[in-house]
């Protein structure tokens, strides 16, 4: 089970028996639009506030995941969820709708894989039969909380990232049909002193590298073991930095396809998203929608998803603190 210091290798690998992905209009204009279950044409989702809109996204993703898993709500033993908004209210209200016992977690944009790793651990250890892992983010709730009012005219630098509007949920079970979660590596806080909240890719890249190295060392795997190693939301600035760091530290990352959800979800040449996507929903929707679909079609057999998170708060960066970062890796195999 525990292998090395922070990797779980599951003796009985749990199965992802159903996933649900819901996105907003910008993601619907991106290259992965066809891989999501539901695309909303407007940001408000016919709700009176951005916060309510984000909650609806998560509720819909959960519903879709349950229907694909052919499971009723009362069969969910635990719901593990989190999001970016203060006191993780989107997840809490979605959990209220779901009615399942709830474990709320916060890992900023790494929440997608943090919740999936915990769900796999609960199922694999026999603590639960069915666990739902879910997370969401909304461009406007994130802008409102971390930056400026959404309609405020501020100019963003090219290193800034665009928070993905969407939600992703996965149902993890001990038995069933679907890809299996074979291992997970929990990240530690890596903070190399970067302070710019408009350049989170550079801040998070070392955390991703740290977790990828730990995962490979503790499982004894080489990058070539995976068909794809994909980071969560380093985007077009942070991702090449992570690749450079890996090469510099002797990791033959060229053996595998090294990609990033933040650059996959948008057409960076056409869409005005600066460096690319970010947010909890970035890695959640790309993994549960796009990547698992590619696995089901047999294009990918083994992937390692390394969701990255910048654990800053509006208060901490205004007080001049640097950005503490983390990355959690989950290995999914067909």
């Amino acid at each position: 089970m525990l292998q090395g210091r922070r990797t779980w290798v599951f003796d009985k690998p749990p199965v992802i028996i159903g996933t649900g992905t819901v996105v907003g209009p910008d993601e619907g204009e991106g290259p992965l639009a066809g891989d999501f279950d539901l695309v909303h044409p407007d940001m408000t989702i016919q709700q009176p506030s951005w916060e309510k809109a984000e909650r609806v996204l998560l509720e819909q993703a959960s519903d879709i995941a349950l229907s694909k898993a052919e499971l009723s709500k009362d069969k969910v033993d635990f719901y593990v969820g989190g999001d970016l908004i203060n006191q993780i209210i989107s997840s809490t209200f979605a959990a209220r709708t779901l009615g399942a016992p709830y474990i709320g977690v916060f890992g900023a944009c790494s929440t997608s894989m943090e919740t999936l790793a915990l769900a796999a651990l609960l199922v694999s250890s026999g603590a639960a039969r069915h666990v739902m892992a879910g997370t969401s983010s909304h461009n406007c709730t994130a802008e409102k909380q971390f930056r400026y009012p959404t309609e405020y005219g501020s100019q963003k630098p090219p290193t800034a990232q665009y928070t993905v509007t969407g939600a992703g949920a996965a149902v993890v079970a001990a038995e069933g049909r679907g890809p299996r979660i074979t291992a997970a590596t929990i990240g530690r806080i890596v903070d190399l002193g970067l302070k710019d909240p408009f350049d989170m890719g550079s801040a998070m890249a070392p955390a991703a590298v740290d977790t990828i190295q730990a995962h490979l060392l503790e499982t004894g795997r080489e990058p070539g073991y995976y068909d794809m190693i994909v980071t969560g939301d380093l985007a077009s600035v942070g991702h090449p930095i992570a690749a450079d760091l890996l090469r510099r530290h002797g990791v033959p990352i060229a053996e595998t396809e090294f990609s990033d959800c933040g650059t996959l979800i948008y057409d960076l040449a056409k869409q005005k998203v600066q460096a690319g996507g970010s947010g909890c929903a970035c890695s959640a929707t790309v993994t549960y929608g796009h990547l698992l679909k590619r696995m089901a079609q047999g294009e990918l057999k083994r992937i390692l998803v390394v969701a990255t998170g910048a654990l800053l708060s509006p208060l901490s960066f205004q007080q001049g603190e640097s950005i503490p970062c983390i990355a959690h890796a989950v290995s999914i195999e067909q």
């Binding site: 409102k144 405020y152 005219g153 100019q155 290193t159 190399l192 450079d244 760091l245 090469r247």
Partner: protein, 164 residues
């Protein structure tokens, strides 16, 4: 820098070892820089264009209602604020501002945008604690430091004996 040590396999990976200073330089060399010159040029022309439109409106009021240029300035500011608020409500102003930068931020239209956007954003929290309390969230510091600057400029005028 050696990229790979002898012998394959994970055991040969070097753990991440970089001092914060070293990494900050490493990352800086790989980041796209802000296009400062292009931003300045855009800001100059967009800001100038907004002022030109304002001047046109002022001339219109002066000609149409037989006002002096001083009398015409108040309705001119009102029109510019109204246009800015309408563009903010239509969700256009922030898109122009991403391109124009300081060009849309510095004129009175930017001030109106900062208040209007905050008011819209916090409407869901109610009229008093939402709109009322948050409307000056961004504009507040402009007013505070504008007043402080005016105070010091006033002192300089007083010392030099300059008066209007």
């Amino acid at each position: 820098m050696a990229t790979k040590e002898a012998g394959r396999g994970p055991a040969s990976y070097k753990p991440l070892s970089m001092s914060p200073k070293e990494y900050q330089q490493f990352a800086k060399n790989r980041q796209p820089s802000r296009p400062v010159f292009a931003n300045c040029v855009k800001a100059f022309f967009v800001g100038g264009l907004i002022c030109l439109i304002g001047q046109g409106v002022q001339n219109f009021f002066a000609a149409a209602f037989d006002m002096s240029s001083k009398e015409a300035s108040n309705p001119t500011v009102a029109v510019m604020i109204l246009v800015s608020v309408i563009l903010t409500c239509l969700g256009v102003y922030d898109k122009i501002a991403q391109w124009a930068g300081a060009g849309t931020a510095v004129p009175v239209t930017g001030f109106a945008n900062s208040m209007c956007s905050a008011a819209i954003e916090h409407r869901s929290e109610g009229l008093v604690l939402g709109v009322g309390a948050n409307m000056f969230k961004l504009a507040g510091s402009v007013i505070v430091f504008g007043t402080v600057a005016a105070f010091f400029v006033g002192i300089v005028y007083w010392i030099l004996g300059v008066s209007h």
